[in-house]
């Protein structure tokens, strides 16, 4: 597979892209009202607290929607692969773009239970999801 394109890192999103080094999925959470804020912003839109910081979540979630890619957009792109949006188990409206790995593309389905795995690329740990087997 070709190299992954990587996101630019800033103060707000650094934890999200690096806590995978410790095997943790970091999502910003409001300390006052426990609302998860994603993409990461240091402000809670529910209670207006500024005390919002990355917190490790379970890494479990469900596939909200997905698509199976069939087109070779760039040379050497192995296909098919699955692009998905996964809702985290803790809060269904926090959705994470990802690839689904660890199963054939045609086995991915709506609402499938998944868990996070990380793939190190350069200095970042990219969250991916695989089916929950246990």
């Amino acid at each position: 597979m070709v190299a992954r394109t990587l996101p630019a890192i800033d103060r707000d999103n650094e934890a999200y892209w690096t806590w995978g080094r410790e095997g943790k999925l970091a999502i910003h959470r409001c300390a006052a009202c426990e609302y998860f804020v994603h993409p990461p912003v240091p402000f809670c839109p529910r209670c207006e607290s500024r005390d919002v910081a990355p917190r490790a979540v379970s890494g479990r979630g469900r596939v909200v929607t997905f698509t199976i890619n069939h087109k070779a957009w760039v040379p050497e792109l192995s296909e098919p692969y699955v692009l998905a949006l996964v809702a985290i188990a803790e809060q269904d409206d926090v959705r994470i773009p990802c690839n689904i790995v660890g199963c054939d593309a045609d086995k991915v389905d709506f609402n499938m239970e998944v868990e996070v795995v990380f793939e190190q690329t350069e200095d970042l740990w990219v969250p991916l999801f695989r089916p929950v087997t246990a």
Partner: protein, 394 residues
Amino acid sequence: MTRFAEKDTAITGVGLSDVSRGATKSALALTVDAALEAIADAGLTRADIDGIATWPGERADGSGFSPVGCAALQDALRLEVGWYGGGGEAPGQYGAVFNAIGAIAAGLCRNVLIFRTMCEATARKTAYANSLLREGQRQAGPFSGYAPYYTYAAALQQALFFNLYVHKSGIRPDQVGQVAVNQRRNAALNPKAIYKTPISIDDYLASPLIATPLRLYDCDVPIDGAAAIIVSRMDVARTLKNPPIRIEAIGSSMRYRNSWTQLAELDTQAQPKVAKMMWSRTDLKPADVDIAQLYDGFSFHTINWLENFGFCERYGAKDFIDGGHRIALDGELPVNTGGGAMSGGRLHAYGAVHEACTQLWGRAGARQVKGDPQICATSTSGGPLAGAMLLVRD
């Protein structure tokens, strides 16, 4: 009813350059062609143009997505304007029109030249293949979350939303395909369309899958070309050559999360609130609409707008387009009458406005909708980029 500013504005002229899969002219030359045609169509001269607007403004990134901005066109035409505006942070492609309405209401200008130029066909042969991701640099901005996941084109994001829509609505591929078949049938009657050879549902079903459930024939076609319109203050419009096409109501705003992953309802995207805003600014109803030019970057958008404008029930578009009769030129709601972006070429909602005016002025030749259409609903694209306009010929 409150006096909304758009009701004091009208489209008074339109222009369209040659549209091709490889132009022999520069992007600026195509833009000049469209602009001069629109100015003349309105019965104006360059000296009458006192505003310019475009979306998303000049992007000198080699992608051909928006190679010409206000400054380049102003200088080429040597215009003297009181106001100009370009930029992508606006309610979709029609943001340029909405800004122009505000500028006219503020007394900054009376006749605004609005244009959209794309040279993606040539760019894709000579530069890089898509405008979202370039190799070797880290991505910032609204698509950065998608960056690591081989999300090379808008087709992949829209396929995510489209697949959920298919899952929830139960629409069948042979129903989705009616959008492509309808538009090719209309394009066959449009001398400026790119693809004119009719296709059948079997052709649609045989076209390659790009990303489930999106097929090649669900996608618009990258082109080289430019479209231009003149938006005038209503009292000026009434003195000009054409019957004014009044901007009866607009829908814009950001009453939803402006995010490509966290939209409240991914399968309907930002459209319901935009459509609701548009209908709240007029006494007209969906049943009053004669024709519709509904964004068709992907056929999913067109299908979704049918529901969000209220032409049919939520998840009822599959029955509305089944068989293709109701959306055909002689149907109850002719849709994308010039072939749309999928067969006519990707002019990014401005080809649609050009076609809307062409139909409302009765100039559409072989594809002219019968019965003297007076009211047209138009829309911009998907994701959080949503805008809508209701156009009414005076």
